[in-house]
């Protein structure tokens, strides 16, 4: 049954459209500095929000992904300090019906993981790209972002 259930996620429910564009987003900082946060997506439904000031990318799964997965009941995250390469498996998100591997959208070092997910995996459903973030990676090669999709491209990738 499992393998059959996995195929089921093909549905392209029109309600699953991502929210309005967040990328790139400018946030005002003190002292007149401006930080540009760039959001990029993978075909495997990971998202990275890269902050060019800190060099950190916040990794999450997309809203489309969480809604296809259903209730997330378990999240496995990488160890802080792990060096990862783009496309490495770094963890997994599990609903009752199936496990989904998470791959690193970018290379770098895992600087921080979202500890609250251990007790509240449901945050991935409620707020996948904000409170339900997975980990922060210090990018070793920000040019990798160029190989990823922007929001429009990502949406198009699963709507067709």
């Amino acid at each position: 049954m499992q393998s059959i259930l996995r195929r089921t996620l093909a549905s392209s429910n029109p309600l699953l459209r991502c929210r309005a564009s967040l990328s790139p987003r400018a946030i005002s900082r003190p002292f007149g500095f401006r930080t540009v946060v760039t959001k990029r997506y993978t075909a495997e439904h990971e998202c990275v929000a890269f902050d060019d000031t800190t060099g950190l990318g916040v990794i999450s799964i997309t809203d489309h992904a969480q809604s296809s997965l259903g209730d997330v009941v378990f999240v496995e995250l990488p160890q802080v300090g792990t060096e990862v390469s783009q496309h490495d498996q770094i963890g997994a998100v599990e609903s009752v019906k199936a496990a989904s591997d998470i791959y690193a959208p970018v290379s770098g070092k895992v600087e921080e993981i979202n500890e609250t997910l251990a007790d509240q995996p449901g945050l991935l459903n409620k707020s996948p790209e904000e409170k339900g973030w997975l980990c922060k990676i210090k990018l070793s090669d920000p040019s990798e972002l160029e190989k990823l999709m922007n929001e429009e491209e990502y949406q198009a990738s699963y709507e067709h």
């Binding site: 059959i4 259930l5 195929r7 089921t8 093909a10 075909a43 997965l69 209730d71 496995e76």
Partner: protein
Amino acid sequence: MLLLRPTTIARKTLRVSTRKFATDAGQLRRTGLYDFHLENKAKMVPFAGYSMPLSYGDVGQVASHNHVRTDAGLFDVGHMVQSNFRGSSATQFLEWLTPSSLSSLKSYSSTLSVILNENGGIIDDTVITKHADDAFYVVTNAGRRDRDLAWFKQKLEQWNSSDHAKNGPVEMEVLENWGLLALQGPRAASYLQALTSFDLTKLTFGTSAFVPLEGFNLHVARGGYTGEDGFEISIPPSETVEVAKMLSKYPVQLTGLGARDSLRLEAGMCLYGNDLDEDTSPVEAGLSWVIGKERKDNGQFIGAEGVREHLKNGPPRRRVGFVVEGAPARQGAKIFSKDEQIGIITSGIPSPTLNKNIAMGFVKNGFHKRDTELEVEVRNRKRQAVVTSMPFVKPNYWRG
């Protein structure tokens, strides 16, 4: 994310398989409730050659699962194959195809059974209901439809051309397009009771009756695939939609395949294709109890030799339950004792009821005792797995 990747892969595969196996969504079979499901906002998925509801509306799998444990849910199981076997030697015929004691089964009682191949491997698991010595109602799996029907046909021809049929043949009638609904949960009985004058307290677990339900007269069997009290109701094609509407009002919720799988696993029940296959004997599968006591030593049924060998000398492997620490173990996860692989997981989920990771799988004989500490490999890491008796969740059957 692996899970979501098949979104595109599945489509591609489907396109290819359209030519080969005709499993394109357009050619999937439909139960009589297909339109009813769509009206109720079902997410339809291919399952066992049918387009079936995975879930309804925005009710998540956990909420849907819990509703069946606390209230009641209605499942369309009309994809399953319902058949009648009739004839003066019907009892003997089915005792040849299965190891069950059907001659001693009381009328209007059901038993779980297995259809065995010549080696004693399980062709399918089935529920057999006896109406009389010469009349049985049999439900088999949709996913095994072609294999089962061909097997029945072949064995009927063999039987009917032998001396066994000297007093008349055994005939099989498949109830094509009949509805089958499972009403499950602690509030199922009170809900159904409000629709009938029949005293349902007399209909205990494992028995069945024709029950008048608001003008319909339907075959109702008490039991199911969730571990909860409940009923499986067989319905003629023309009445299925109306009965489904009648049975799906508050507090009953329509429930899909997603919750059906997690409920059955908590109840320790096998899913054919995951936990059972033709290379597995009922003894290995922990289903020795379906073999009739008086048939164990010298019952003449297909596959008896292999089954008897496993009964006498112990099977090489056994199906057991596990509680797994950390990550849930899924189908295909390897089971280890120290560094030796001694088995494989066949079904596993994070249990919505227990908040623990539960699984079932097969281990080498000797590693099957309760509380045996083993390890299961998930994402290249070994996790502690403790052999646990099943069912994981205490059944809630009505035994009167």
